[in-house]
């Protein structure tokens, strides 16, 4: 099954490489990985999406912990969390499709970030599932290019 793992790491050169190469060396699946600085500039947060049976996931978590540059490893999958991904979608724009594109973009709360005679770029934010659905529904209009950020995630606060 799919797992969402949040890792706090030292914000140093080579850390991303250490994590990514550990995944490839041990044959673990790496669906997406995203990384950015946290409130402490010496620490970055990595959000990793991986797939595997429980035994494999337990090895993934332990192997991540074993790296010296990882500070904290949390499997968010079964904990309350918020997960988001950003999609930039560039579509072909034609007179006949224009209306439908705007309508569908509205449904997904998309935001137009660039528009030209023959193309339009829309920004979407949502769970990876929602992003997948959006891509599927926009496909018939002719996708020029797309870019996804990979998931980022964080614990939900205490109530």
């Amino acid at each position: 099954m799919k797992h969402l793992i949040s890792v706090l790491v030292e914000n140093k050169f080579g850390t991303l490489n250490r994590v990514a190469s550990m995944f490839s060396a041990r044959g673990f699946n790496l669906e997406s990985i995203s990384i950015g600085e946290t409130e402490d500039p010496e620490i970055s947060r990595m959000t990793i999406v991986t797939k595997g049976e429980d035994r494999i996931i337990s090895q993934v978590l332990k192997q991540l912990n074993r790296l010296i540059d990882t500070i904290k490893v949390t499997d968010l999958t079964h904990q309350p969390h918020v997960e988001r991904e950003l999609l930039l979608l560039s579509l072909k724009l034609g007179k006949s499709t224009q209306h439908e594109i705007f309508e569908l973009a509205n449904v997904f709360k998309g935001k137009v970030v660039d528009i030209k005679q023959k193309s339009i770029t829309i920004e979407f934010v949502g769970s990876p599932e929602k992003i997948n659905t959006a891509i599927d529904l926009f496909r018939p209009f002719g996708i020029r290019e797309l870019a996804r950020s990979g998931a980022v995630a964080i614990h939900r606060g205490e109530s």
Binding site: G14, R55, S58, K62, I68
Partner: protein, 573 residues
């Protein structure tokens, strides 16, 4: 000796840090990026630098030194090819959990990434084969980085750490500050075992009818042999060991079962298959030990103590994991054991039956020489007290079977990586570290040629290493598999036509050399070699060419089905 607060250049700081880490020996080779370091080294008297002849040799020497003494091994090599030549040795240390600190010179910071002369991204290259590695970008971080490197190499599960030092950093000046303590927030190994888990383990052991200790190299690196001996004898629990675990429990004690696994003893593997409680300590259920995993110790409740949590449930699912240092585990277990004792005589008698069913033995012919005899004879003449170093292959497995290791830190061998060429340099390293026990190397003719250049290092330093060359002029283990499993196609394993005369090779290096081709000449040569202390001595043992190591578990097979002899390879027990 320099003091804190003094202004020093990077190269001076380097030696000052090694001094603070009580380093005795550096195994190294100079080069362009290290010229300043070697300029300072010229006047360093308290740390001895051993000049090797190839950087791979330096890493194996450092490993041999470390495995014999328990102290970290230190390597110093230049950038580019000097650094890339250390890759095999570093990987070997990583697989066998040996603490090394490898220092590499690097091109000046301003040239990094420019494909400069003798530039290699050694930090990138060694990321997957080191416990951790560092590129020092600022001379002010040099001392703290070296401190961290030694700390990481030696704490928790030991392993190699690499420190890459650009030329400008080694020339730059700063105020020297030795950090008194080390704090690495991402590195907090569990040393103390959880007491609930230990209590549970103690109860299981007390109730077990057929318990078995499965001991790995972790017991030796933790220095836990005394604790093991005490609890095994006290509770009458037989002990089987991995290749790296040999010596953790005395091989001449009746409870010692020798090695388990692919070339382990028949009775060890039978005991694993029939025990009701398997207590794995400092071992990692390697595929050479388990054979086919779904048939491994199926009747046993499994306890697994290891300092590295990734070893738990990696290859074999265990019932009771106990993460922590093996010395702490065994010592707490001794404390926790109830006073009542289970009678284990029936279990021990059953093991005796297996021992009689398929003993380790060999036939001696007066006119030919068997490797088993050579090793057996060395075991007798040294009374099991030598530091034994091996290369990789048939002779290595025969060593595990026929040498009776009586104390820990007695076998230095490449177990995880299986590095041919490991033997000679690591024996040299061991000889620097240990001077009150004989250092005996068993090497094949294939492996000896892979680092033969280090014979210079042994001769020049007058090291009394006994180089016992098991010469069958074959890559024997590969030949064995070709015969058994590859239609007897002896593809590129016969070295007879190409091997040199090893006696003359040794003499050309200035090394004393002898040869033997039958039991009597072998016995005499061993006696003569063991009595010679002025420098290295090589004995060319011309053994039977097509001998094979048995018993054997075919790759991927179940350890309860062992091949016992070659005559009819289909005979399984």
């Amino acid at each position: 000796m320099h003091t804190n607060g003094q202004k020093l250049i990077g190269s001076e700081i380097f030696f000052e840090c090694l001094r603070r880490e009580n380093v005795e020996y550096i195994f190294g080779y100079p080069g362009g990026a290290l010229l300043k370091v070697y300029e300072i080294l010229h006047d360093v008297v308290d740390i001895k630098h051993i000049l090797v002849r190839h950087e791979q040799g330096a890493t194996h020497m450092a490993e041999g030194y470390s495995r014999a003494t328990g102290r970290p091994g230190v390597v110093l090599v230049t950038s580019g090819p000097g650094a890339t030549n250390t890759v095999t040795g570093i990987t070997n240390a990583y697989m066998d959990s040996t603490p090394l600190v490898v220092f590499t010179g690097q091109v000046p910071s301003s040239l990094i990434g420019n494909d400069a002369f003798q530039e290699a991204d050694i930090v990138g290259i060694t990321r997957p084969i080191t416990k951790h590695n560092f590129l020092v970008k600022d001379v002010r971080e040099l001392a703290s980085t070296i401190r961290k490197a030694f700390f990481l190499a030696t704490n928790g599960r030991p392993g190699p750490v690499l420190v890459d030092m650009p030329k400008d950093v080694l020339n730059a000046e700063c105020i020297f500050e030795w950090p008194e303590s080390v704090e690495i927030r991402g590195f907090k190994p569990t040393i103390k075992c959880h007491s609930n888990q230990v209590q549970k383990a103690a109860r299981l052991i007390a109730d077990a009818k057929r318990p078995l200790f499965y001991i790995g190299g972790g017991v030796i690196s933790a220095g836990a042999s005394e604790e093991l001996r005490k609890i095994a004898i006290d509770q009458q629990i037989p002990v089987t060991m991995t290749l790296q675990g040999l010596g953790a429990f005395p091989g001449d004690h009746p409870l010692s079962m020798g090695m388990l696994g692919m070339h382990g003893t028949f009775w060890s593997n039978q005991a694993v298959s029939h025990c009701d409680l398997l207590i794995a300590v400092g071992a990692r259920f390697d595929d050479r030990v388990t054979g086919k995993v779904d048939t491994f110790a199926t009747q046993a409740y499994k306890i697994h103590n290891d300092i590295d949590p990734t070893n738990v449930d990696k290859n074999i699912k265990v019932d009771l994991p106990v993460v922590g240092d093996s010395k702490d585990f065994l010592a707490s277990l001794i404390e926790a054991m109830p006073k009542t004792k289970e009678d284990r005589s029936a279990w021990l008698a059953e093991i005796e039956e297996w021992r009689k069913q398929c003993p380790l033995d060999y036939d001696n012919e007066p006119d030919s020489l068997k490797t088993e005899f050579v090793i057996d004879e060395v075991s007798k003449q040294t009374e099991g007290h030598a530091v034994i170093v091996t290369d990789v292959g048939q002779h290595q497995m025969w060593t595990s079977q026929y040498y009776k290791f009586t104390e820990p830190r007695s076998i230095i061998t490449s177990g995880g990586l299986g590095t041919m060429g490991f033997g000679l340099p690591s024996a040299i390293g061991a000889a620097f570290g240990v001077t009150d026990r004989p250092i005996v190397l068993f090497s094949g003719d294939g492996g000896l040629m892979m680092n033969i250049q280090e014979l210079v290092t042994a001769v020049y330093n007058k090291l009394p290493v006994k180089i016992f060359l098991i010469n069958n002029s074959y890559l024997g283990m590969v030949r064995q598999w070709q015969e058994l499993f590859h239609k007897e196609k002896y593809s590129f394993t016969d070295l007879e036509a190409s091997n040199p005369d090893f006696v003359r090779v040794a003499e050309a290096f200035g090394c004393k050399a002898l040869s033997a081709n039958n039991p009597e000449s072998a016995r005499n040569a061993i006696t003569e070699a063991l009595a010679y202390h002025e420098g290295p001595v090589l004995v060319d043992f011309r053994v039977i060419r097509k001998d094979m190591v048995f018993p054997m578990v075919p790759a991927g097979g179940s350890i309860s089905d062992m091949l016992l002899a070659r005559l009819n390879p289909k005979t399984m027990v």
